[in-house]
Subunit: 342 residues, 2 copies
């Protein structure tokens, strides 16, 4: 056991020194543990959707190339931090050890199965091997270890949900919580992207206000839109390419949406989201491909005065809220079962 | 005169087709004008601070190299869009022509002197020459033309303020307006960066609430901090490097700030801003070097539940508010006169 570290993990940063782990080029993921850390034996890794999409593209959907590239990143950086998309993912594993000097908020003990709720871009990670990789979902079976600092968080894996479903839900559990914080009864809400974040968030909205909230959805994927309607989660859907807002006629009509929720993993959808929101409304960006300057300058460029939020992955109570949504909505649970069955 | 264009400027996009002007690689800045456009003869250009800093670095402070690089960007892209920082600037000039089909909100006529309030990253621009360039401020005298679309905005140059001061103020006029929208009486506010945006915003805060609002400021530049105190704009200042938050002890004490305003042109200051804000507080990011993913994942990484805003350059009434601050605060006006005198 090594000495006491730093609550933010500064002691694990190798390059450049003085940076925080997320900004660092390289972390030290070696053992033994520092006294204030938690050691987790890794079993399952969920690669962030934007990162996985990019890695799949450069590997031309070849699972072996993909595994090789992911192992390379982790070996070089001491963390799963995609240098192109600047995003990571999360992991599931078993607590191997809680350092005797640990003073953080978690009440974990050795043997607990947990999911980490901090990004893998700042989690010291060592992978010995990747066994299986699911090209549809970005989930992979892996063996190795990860380390949590005192400021990091994790949650116990629920016993009543299949593990892959719980992991898929926890991966984006910030979305429904933040959406619920910013939507009011009577609002018109547009989701840009009809994936799992949109579905979870729409279940939360409809569960709270039913038809009081009008939900619409934009996606290129007709099946995803069909699912949203079938599941009773969208009052209206729009098939179209959010990266080409010039071609989206519905955006140029009407008074605009009260809240726009950007949940795509495709870069270049900022302007569609900005054009869609009404004056004084709110856009929440969750897609890790979002460009800060495209939003700031794009909004200025069309003189749209609205609130533009960076959707952080952490909102108090987010994990419980998201898991409860899957527990309580049969349609949602069935959708996750279809998509995340092994 | 060409035919009617598109309010968002789609008709000027050459590559890739279908993109909006800000996202485009290349715009057509050629004449004649389309019927719904406004033509401006360019006289002064204010390069965005983050972009100018990067251009000055690669030109090693050589004015001729700097001019050459800026002319190259404008020639290649048909707009002043720095490909590295993804930011632009704004311009001052004289309205040469308002197309007969123009149906936008501006009431300009030929001969009006105006500043454009939309970014140069989406403004078709042709430059014949750059005459002078001020290495301190990023302002340059230039000759050429720029084009405004119907969704673009501009304001008449005030007659009671020196032109270079008005341009410097209008460049960042979104900051005080957005800060005033999010700060409440009684708040503790931290500015990360002590440049002109911090000064303008602090004048607005102190003008409204005096000692009701506690203003603090973090910067590496002792002179900038000294000026903030001397001008009565900061109750407390902290000398330190916001790119190395691990070394900033004052951030790790106390309950955190209600509102943190990031107004630096230095990349890598996201974590300091996130660590500084209290749970439930608000961070407004204005620096064009801000990384979306560093904010989203950094906040998640230390489980900080707060509101993270992308500071858009447009807030209704922003130009008038900012110019009035300089008119009404003698200390601020004198500071601008010292800094922007020719």
């Amino acid at each position: 056991m090594r000495a006491q570290g730093n609550p933010y993990g500064l002691h694990r940063v190798m390059e450049p020194l003085g940076e925080l782990p997320q900004a660092a080029q390289r972390l030290d993921a070696s053992l033994p543990l520092y006294a204030d850390e938690i050691l987790i034996r890794v079993e399952l890794v969920n690669v962030d959707s934007t990162s996985f999409r990019q890695l799949r593209e450069i590997s031309q959907n070849d699972p072996d190339l993909l595994k090789k590239r992911i192992l390379e990143i982790v070996r070089e950086r001491g963390k799963l931090h995609n240098p192109i998309t600047d995003s990571g993912g999360m992991l599931v594993g078993t607590v191997a050890e809680v350092g005797p000097g640990y003073g953080g908020p978690l009440t974990l003990k050795a043997g607990d199965r947990v999911a980490t709720l901090v990004s893998l871009t700042l989690t010291p990670l060592h992978l010995e091997e990747i066994r299986g990789i699911d090209l549809k979902t970005g989930q992979m079976e892996a063996r190795g270890h990860g380390i949590l600092f005192e400021t990091g968080i994790a949650c116990r894996m629920p016993k009543d949900l299949p593990e892959r479903i719980a992991l898929a839900v926890l991966d984006i559990c910030g979305a429904p919580a933040l959406v619920m914080r910013h939507v009011r009864n009577g609002d018109r809400v547009l989701f840009v992207g009809a994936g799992k974040s949109a579905k979870l968030s729409a279940v939360a909205l409809k569960g709270e206000w039913e038809s009081g909230v009008k939900v619409e959805c934009l996606d290129v994927d007709a099946q995803a839109l069909h699912d949203m309607r079938e599941m009773g989660l969208a009052d209206e859907t729009h098939a179209g390419d959010a990266t080409k807002p010039g071609g989206l006629e519905f955006l140029q009509k009407g008074r605009g949406y009260d809240v726009v929720v950007n949940v795509t993993n495709v870069p270049g959808t900022e302007m569609a989201s900005i054009m869609a929101v009404r004056e004084g409304g709110t856009v929440i960006f969750f897609g890790m491909g979002t460009s800060f300057s495209k939003v700031a300058l794009g909004a200025e460029g069309i003189a749209k005065d609205a609130t533009f939020l960076i959707g952080s992955g952490y909102v108090r109570g987010h994990a419980e809220l998201a898991l409860d949504l899957v527990r309580e909505s049969r349609a949602l649970r069935e959708w996750f079962e279809r998509k995340y069955s092994v």
